[in-house]
């Protein structure tokens, strides 16, 4: 496999964006939905959701996440991107604890640590194993 200059950096930056924006978007959506009291009708629920700045911010983060994912998948292996992006579970645990006040147990942290260990192992492999053409 030929080494393309800059591919390593753009892969790192794209996956970093995914790792930050994915969990942040999910946490903001959860926080936004928690702030909404259960309305009587679907229309009232939709009105509450559409008027929530937190939910819109969550949607914006998840849109950015999908764009970063699509970009990185244009040059990196799917079997590389998804396992490496699993380090987002660590970010999700931190955000859940800090922003949502969740109690993350030691066992849960241990499980996340195992995931991060797997991410380190996958991260040591080549991000591309097949030929790729330029867009």
């Amino acid at each position: 496999m030929t080494r393309v200059p800059g591919r390593h950096i753009k892969t790192f930056v794209s996956i970093l964006i995914m790792i930050v924006l994915g969990p942040l978007g999910n946490v903001l959506l959860r926080k936004g939905m928690q702030d909404i009291t259960v309305p009587a009708t679907w229309m009232a629920l939709a009105a509450h959701v559409l008027s929530s700045g937190t939910i819109w911010l969550g949607i914006a983060c998840l849109t950015g996440y999908v764009f970063a994912e699509m970009l990185v998948l244009s040059w990196a292996d799917y079997s590389y991107v998804q396992p490496v992006a699993a380090s987002a579970y660590g970010v999700a645990a931190v955000l859940g604890h800090v922003m949502l006040g969740e109690d993350v147990s030691r066992l849960r942290w241990l499980g996340i640590g195992v995931i991060c260990l797997g991410v380190l192992m996958v991260g040591r492999t080549s991000s591309r194993t097949t030929e790729v053409r330029r867009a």
Binding site: K10, N26, L73, A135
Partner: protein
């Protein structure tokens, strides 16, 4: 109920990601990150059925969460 919802989320999410990966592989490596170049690529991407299939499945995953 929760294992079933989780199973749906996993299947929808994974198949959605695979569809996106297939679509982006057909586009080729994005190497120009200038806004005009990205808009040009976006215009090509929205014309691919695999992208819409992928995004639909990803939204199902989100809905099941």
């Amino acid at each position: 109920m929760t294992p079933l919802v989780l199973l749906i989320a996993v299947i929808a999410g994974t198949s959605g990601e695979l569809c996106l990966a297939r679509a982006m592989r057909s586009i080729g490596e994005v190497s120009d990150f200038h806004p005009s170049a990205l808009i040009h690529i976006l215009a090509r991407v929205v014309g691919l059925p695999w992208v819409w299939l992928g995004l639909t499945r990803r939204s199902r995953e989100l809905a099941s969460q």
